[in-house]
């Protein structure tokens, strides 16, 4: 598999399942508006740009899973490629932030939470960056849910969790 290609896609859809281009007007309803309060959350978030840009302006109006395939599962792992990291300077704004955040593997959901981006914006941008070779996107295989060895490993791992835990880390 060449650089930038994601893992196998169970559903036979294209490996990077973009939403089909849609009128950005369709995305500009109350939901998009409501993201404007994203900047009021915890004090740990990066200061700087106010979330004044409507989410799907960042994706040129495209939405995830818009007809050409299922959206990336929320646990999909995304990690920067070495060329992505070395080419960080050529990227701007959200693309830059996404690649920079993926020095270590992250799930799509983690990226959305940490960068305060809409989940579906991350899905679209991650797939763009994957195509451009900046990120590797590892789409999980649906058969995992039936994989006895995986289930046993999870059970064993969970059993090892002690009755009480210390302080939680702020990032994974």
């Amino acid at each position: 598999m060449t650089a930038g290609e994601p893992g196998p896609n169970e559903d036979g859809g294209p490996p990077c399942a973009w939403g089909s281009p849609r009128s950005s007007g369709a995305e500009s309803g109350g939901g998009a508006e409501s993201l404007g309060d994203g900047g009021t959350r915890g004090s740990s978030e990066p200061a700087g740009r106010a979330p004044a840009i409507r989410p799907f302006l960042l994706t040129a109006g495209r939405v995830a899973g818009g007809g050409t395939g299922p959206p990336l599962p929320v646990e999909t792992q995304v990690v920067a490629t070495s060329s992505g990291l070395s080419g960080l300077d050529s990227l701007a704004f959200e693309q830059h932030d996404l690649v920079a955040a993926c020095r270590h593997p992250q799930s799509v959901a983690e990226l959305a939470a940490r960068l305060h981006l809409h989940l579906n914006v991350v899905r679209v941008l991650a797939q763009d960056l994957c195509t451009a070779g900046h990120l590797a996107v590892h789409v999980p295989n649906a058969r995992t849910t039936q994989d006895i060895s995986v289930l046993r490993r999870v059970i064993d791992g969970l059993r090892a969790v002690p009755d009480s835990r210390g302080t939680l880390r702020d990032s994974g």
């Binding site: 070495s82 983690e110 994989d147 995986v150 880390r169």
Partner: protein, 204 residues
């Protein structure tokens, strides 16, 4: 433990700086304020993160905002955490809103989940009907856990099982969403269901 090559990742020649773990997930469902985020936070190794999901899909169809007084727009928060099982395997825990009107986002989150835990507050049993129905309908392994707020359960488990109309094969347990060990054990109940089902499938 022998490191088993992940069946879900192809052997990438991608020059990724780090090979990601195999991600698996469990879904924690239940009504508002039932303890989903508390449960996630009790067992997650990171402070639970929040993302707002699938807003545009729901914006057009929702007209009942009475449950969220003071909000003029619908935002759907999804809290999640994770547990690193080992360097090659990571378990994510996603808490999803349990009300019917949020059903739109469940497919998005639940797709590919190992199983689900439905948390129940016995004072508000009806809040979890939608989640129970959903997991049954989708044939996803799940268990129901009564959150014993302050150690109190207001109905006995037989009454809860009757009221929720859940089949005998669905485990029903009592737990405390604040305690790591208790959440761990509730999740293990779900995983036992998932494992039994996977074994049955393989045997047939």
């Amino acid at each position: 433990m022998v490191s088993v090559p992940s069946p879900t990742h192809e052997a990438h020649s991608v020059t990724a700086v780090e090979q990601p773990p195999l991600p698996v997930k469990l879904v924690i469902a239940g009504g508002f304020g039932v303890g989903k985020t508390t449960a996630v936070g009790a067992i997650s190794e990171i402070r639970p993160l929040t993302t707002e999901a699938a807003i545009t899909e729901v914006a057009a169809g929702v007209d009942d905002l009475s449950h969220t007084p003071g909000k003029t727009t619908t935002t759907v928060a999804m809290d999640f955490g994770c547990i690193t099982i080992d360097p090659t395997l990571k378990l994510y825990l996603f808490g999803t809103p349990g009300q019917d009107r949020f059903g739109f986002m469940w497919d998005d989150v639940v797709q590919g989940a190992l199983g689900g835990l439905v948390i129940v507050d016995t004072r508000r049993l009806d809040d979890c009907y939608a989640a129970v129905d959903y997991f049954e309908h989708k044939d996803i392994p799940f268990a129901v856990a009564v959150n014993a707020f302050d150690g109190e359960v207001h109905h006995n488990l037989d009454e809860v099982r009757w009221a929720l109309d859940i089949s005998d094969h669905v485990p029903l347990t009592v737990f405390d969403a604040r305690h790591t060990g208790s959440v761990r054990d509730a999740l293990l109940v779900v995983l036992d269901v998932a494992l039994s089902r996977a074994e049955d499938t393989t045997a047939n």
